[in-house]
Amino acid sequence: MFRFLMKGMLRDKHRSLMPTIVVTLGVFLTVGMFAYMKGVMGDMLNNTAQLESGHVKITSLAYRSEIDVLPNDLAMDNGPAMMAMLQENYPDLAWSERIKFGGLLDAFDKNRETRAQLGVGGIGIDLFGPNAADRERWNLESGLRAGTLPQKPGDILMAEKLAGNMGVAVGEEVTLISATVNGSMSLQNFRVAGFIEFGIPPMDRSIILADLNDVKRMLDMGDWSSEILGYFPIPYYDDALAEALRDTFNVVHSDPIFMANDTLNFSTNLDHDDSIDRFAPYMMSMLDDSNMRDYYTYVDKAGSIISFVMIFAMGIVLWNTGLMGAIRRYAEMGLRLAVGESKGHVYRSLLVESVGIGVVGTVLGTIMGLGLGLYLQEVGFNMGDMMKDSTMMMPTIIRARITPTAFYIGFFPGVIATLLGAGLSGLRIFKRDTASLFKELET
């Protein structure tokens, strides 16, 4: 019987090839889109972690309450001691210090008169110290477009487009105008060691990178630390892990009076209780930082909805394929019933066929979808031209990400929808009147 069914399927292209192609294409699209969606989301989180917030971030309570305006004057005292404590008590994580600040970059002529001036965002990272892992985190080697990486204190890297807009050359001296933590205007000269492309349009238009110690000196920060970022030894962000660490760290190291209050009303609690140590450390997870949790939840939900719609739409298509297949074979069913095959047997054989086609199509579609996902994961999809005026912190090359779910997500539309379609349409077999079968076959 099995041989009979297999022969039938293979010889009748309408029973085997066409449904398999439809299932394969449907599953291919589902798996490919799923990997792409995961990749976009993962890229955004990874970029945010690497460049902006780490997997966890420690600031002072006061700094956290005004974090949107980069209040370096509210930084934590005694940063080196805090770093030593973190490295001793939390050795699994990589710790990295950052300072972000705003200012004006002033390019000058041979008379030292202003030639061009633009507002910039400055970021101080550890370029020369033992924790120079930031060089890799920022992917500086491959992002370098001209000149060299900073060689000595006083060297900076400029975003390539920013340098182009200001007409600055590699090796040129520029003045950075900013404000110290005491509020005094600070003018500091730097040598432009090289130009860099971050691959994120807003950063490519306005960012300069300087050594952490140079920035501390310029802002008169002494040993204060604005932000200390922590990275788990995993290549992606795990919210549950970050939240667990955040909660235990804050109970042990942050201000107990503040922690006893409702920490959601951050500024209110801080401003109305003088007994709170405003400069005690406070850890936040990446999603807590800059209200990313709402955004993450929104994007995650949107991603789930899109995935569901995709799976649902493919399910409808494949269900329809199952239906069409069974309806098309109306006469064949009649003949098989007429020659004595039982209704249950015909129905079961229809289901077995649909499962076979569904499995074969799903396996092929999943392989093709994973292939597309792998290609987009390794090579990516360059959206640079479309995003040249974008102000969103997104990389210009969008990459897919293959997750374990991508290996089985295609089975839902591929096998189950096809099976449901065949099963539903096959129910008509039981309504066939055996006595009138030959009459039907005559027509």
Partner: protein
């Protein structure tokens, strides 16, 4: 009796008019005390930041007329040698660290000087109130144990781009010093800055502030005290001092 009353009122009018001071005259007397032809001074600015830490910046300044002045910071070490030169409406700043002369203009003039509650405009302003404001006397009050006129000042219609479009000032009735000022934005209700003269000194026949207090209402700090350590009026100041070239010397 009813025929005598109008004559009595008419007879009393000169005394009533004398009792009602002329606001413009009050401004003229304030300008005479506060605005100098030329002056050389040493001052200390005491700034308390948001962490409650105090910074003292000493400076030396020279001024000539209403629109020319030079300020040089003497301490602390990090600020030493910083100079600010005002020539008419342009302010230049020199810092020895970068050996650069930078023009400060537009909205930057209203930025805080060294984290204090003074803006660059406040720091170098030596203009006459009478040239900029129309005034009206709105009452009399006692402030810091001194009887004061209370004046409401509004910027004249032809005056554009002014930092404080309206002010309410408490003027010492005998010394003609503005002991307190509330400085407002154009809408007249948004208070931007509070200024007080907390101690005065007499130099010749002129009363002059010895200790002033500035509070930027929009900032979180605890206010800035400005102490005039030493001041000489009508001094000869070489012209070259007020040049960009002299900033680097």
């Amino acid at each position: 009796m009813r025929y005598i009353l109008p004559f009595l009122i008419l007879g009393a009018m000169p005394a009533m008019l004398m009792a009602q001071p002329d606001a413009a005259e009050i401004l003229r007397k304030i300008d005479k005390q506060m605005v100098t032809e030329s002056a050389e001074a040493t001052a200390t600015m005491v700034i308390t930041n948001r962490r409650g830490r105090e910074t003292r910046i000493t400076s030396r300044s020279w001024s000539k007329g209403e629109t020319t002045s030079l300020v040089e910071y003497l301490s602390p070490a990090r600020e030493k040698g910083v100079k600010m030169l005002r020539l008419d409406d342009v302010l230049w700043m020199y810092t020895p660290q970068a050996d650069r002369v930078i023009q400060i203009s537009g909205h930057m003039l209203r930025q805080s000087v060294s984290g204090s509650d003074l803006s660059y405009e406040d720091m170098v302003n030596n203009g006459k109130l009478l040239d900029v404001y129309d005034a009206a006397v709105v009452g009399e009050e006692v402030f810091m144990d001194r009887l004061c006129y209370v004046l409401r000042l509004r910027a004249k219609e032809n005056v554009d781009d002014i930092a404080y479009a309206q002010r309410k000032i408490w003027v010492d009735k005998s010394r003609y010093l503005p002991l307190k000022e509330e400085r407002y934005a154009k809408n007249g209700t948004t208070l931007l800055k509070i200024f007080e003269i907390r101690e005065v000194m007499k130099i010749g026949d002129r009363w002059y502030p010895k200790e002033m207090y500035f509070k930027d209402v929009l900032a979180n700090g605890q206010g800035t005290r400005y102490l005039v350590d030493d001041i000489k009026f009508n001094v000869d100041i070489p012209e070259y001092l007020f040049t960009k070239a002299a900033l680097r010397e």
